[in-house]
């Protein structure tokens, strides 16, 4: 108590001695207040615009509680169905793996064209970059819908969709990796009489390869998640069964499927984190968490 009192006396003394430093809290507080009120108003306005009412909110939570209650215990019904689900899960993994790999292979030459230290012509760079941006801007599910029109329903369409979206992502990530590379080894190759291609092959690619590999692994991880839902539009994988189970209100099965997905994703994350660690030696700092 006496300690707190002593502190208060001291504070008063300090504020008398340094009035300029100790003032100004009030003005800042009022700004913060105004910002908070504006923020709250914007939230309220958004809720009003979307016609969200408290009653709907709370009724929904009651219903959600009931559904979650119905989810336990997780069940898979018959063994044949379990086998079918495992097969779909395999499809999901294949879609993610093959889609990412194809995207990486196709994106590699494109990313060279989009990197400043490889492609000196800004126009070509600009065109390639805008194309990659556009591809990336369209969601995987939309690409899946388009590919279904071309190759029909099934996992192949899903794989192509993952490939298309990731072509954009890989192209961007790879070209950034190229641009971040140290120019000195390349200069060394040139001064030893190497050609421009030699510079790229021996001065640039060995430097960025580990980075690219770890990015590919990271994308495989994140695509495993995307590939679990791509079945919602009929492009193969476990998402098909999940949608069906939710639509037919089979909550035991829903929880079992979600568990299967969680275990698979966790396993893939674990494995790829280990490989990535072996390749690059430090934990990932990529922020494209999906």
């Amino acid at each position: 108590m006496s300690h707190a009192g002593g502190l208060a006396v001291d504070l008063r003394g300090v504020s008398q001695r340094h009035p300029k430093l100790m003032a100004g809290g009030g003005r800042r507080a009022s700004w913060l207040g105004i910002a908070a009120v504006a923020f709250a108003t914007s939230i309220a306005a958004c809720c009003m615009a979307l016609d969200i009412s408290w009653s709907r909110f709370f009724n929904g939570f009651g219903e959600l509680g009931r559904i979650v209650g119905l989810m336990f215990p997780p069940e898979y019904g018959t063994t044949t169905r379990f086998v079918l689900w495992c097969k779909s899960l395999g499809e999901t993994l294949s879609i993610a793996f093959l889609g990412t790999l194809c995207a990486a292979v196709l994106a590699f030459p494109l990313s060279l064209l989009a990197a400043r230290n490889v492609m000196p012509d800004w126009l070509a760079r600009f065109v390639v970059r805008r194309c990659l941006d556009t591809i990336r801007g369209v969601n995987t599910l939309i690409w899946a819908l388009i590919w279904i029109n071309v190759v029909g329903l099934g996992p192949f369409a899903g794989m192509l969709a993952i490939m298309t979206t990731d072509l954009g992502t890989c192209g961007k990530l790879f070209s950034e990796a190229f641009e971040a590379a140290d120019p000195k080894p390349g200069e060394g190759v040139i001064s030893a009489g190497g050609s421009g291609l030699h510079r790229i092959r021996f001065g640039l690619i060995p430097q960025v390869m580990p980075v690219l590999l770890s990015q590919i692994l990271y994308l495989i991880e994140s695509n495993t998640r995307s590939a679990t839902i791509i079945g919602i539009v009929g492009a193969g994988g476990i998402g098909q069964h999940l949608t069906e189970a939710i639509r037919t209100l089979e909550w035991h099965e829903v929880s079992f499927l979600v568990l299967m997905i969680l275990v698979t994703v966790a396993t893939i994350d674990f494995i790829s984190a280990r490989i990535r660690f072996a390749i690059i030696g430090n934990p990932p700092t990529n922020d494209k968490a999906s």
Binding site: I95, N139, L141, L262, V265, A266
Partner: protein, 294 residues
């Protein structure tokens, strides 16, 4: 001018060459192993994913047709000859795009608030209780791993059709993804000010408020904005499962082969996403610049 080459005795050379061959050999074995692994993975997934290169090649004209058809009106005129006809639904679509943005905004805000609260519990350097920490981490992992659309489907069943389930689904996913990033930011923060405030008698909350928060806030804002960008993209497809936004109309247009509508809506989405990207990028650069100058 004669050059004198110094050579080692043969026995020494032999030893060195063997070591070199061994090192090369090990690396080569590793590479071959890695390639074999990848090749077997490709083969298995090629079979499982039902890849039909033949179909793709024989139907590749369909893809081209489809893309061309996207930019044709009903009467096969190119779309740019009649922009009014192309964007006939611009009023409705703009409203839906606005709804999409609002869903993304609310989802990001709610998720960020949750992530903010949980990330401090999940940070190794602030919380000594192992149980509290791993509980917070498991919650974050769960929210992050289950895809948004699964949550959206679930919430549509509970809350009914409309933007509310979309907002909640985005919020939960944002909570998981941002919570992890926030916790990493906190763990990278300098811990000494925190210890100083604690030593001066501050409670845990006071120490966090005055020692940690000023260090991490600009990074938090930057990550939050990045997440908003991602959420704008995601909310555009939430309508596929009936969770509000432009997705519903897009799905209908694709399924019913309203080609010019598809291109118009996708174009509007791309433009919106690009504008949001540019704006948030600018704000983020400003935030990061300010942090570096301090």
């Amino acid at each position: 001018m004669s050059t004198v080459l110094l050579t080692l005795p043969d026995a020494r050379l032999e030893a060195l060459r063997r070591a070199y061959d061994r090192a090369r050999g090990r690396k080569r074995t590793q590479t071959i192993l890695a390639f074999a692994l990848i090749a077997s993975g490709v083969t298995v997934s090629y079979l499982v994913a039902d890849v039909r290169i033949g179909t793709l090649l024989s139907h590749s004209d369909r893809m081209l047709d489809y893309l061309v058809r996207l930019f044709q009106l009903e009467n096969k005129d190119p779309v740019w000859t009649d922009p009014v006809e192309w964007f006939w639904g611009i009023g409705k679509w703009s409203r839906l795009i606005a709804e999409t943005l609002v869903i993304a905004y609310l989802g990001t805000v709610v998720g960020t608030i949750g992530a903010f609260a949980l990330s401090f519990c999940a940070a190794t350097n602030l919380v000594s209780s192992r149980i509290a920490r791993s509980l917070a981490r498991r919650i974050l992992e769960f929210c992050r791993t289950v895809p948004e659309l699964v949550f959206a489907l679930l919430f549509v069943a509970a809350f009914g059709l409309g933007p509310l389930p979309g907002i909640l689904a985005l919020a939960i996913h944002t909570l998981g993804a941002l919570g992890k990033q926030f916790a990493e930011v906190i763990e990278n923060a300098d811990i000494s000010p925190f210890e100083a405030v604690s030593a001066a008698g501050g409670t845990w909350i006071q120490s966090v408020r005055f020692a940690i928060l000023p260090q991490v806030l600009s990074n938090f804002a930057s990550y939050g904005l990045l997440r908003f960008e991602i959420n704008v993209r995601e909310s555009a497809i939430l309508g596929f499962v009936g969770a509000g936004g432009i997705g519903q109309d897009l799905l209908v247009a694709v399924r019913r082969f309203y080609y010019s509508d598809v291109s118009a809506i996708v174009l509007m989405i791309i433009v919106t996403v690009a504008i949001i990207d540019i704006l948030t990028e600018r704000v983020r650069r400003h935030l990061i610049g300010r942090e570096q100058s301090v």
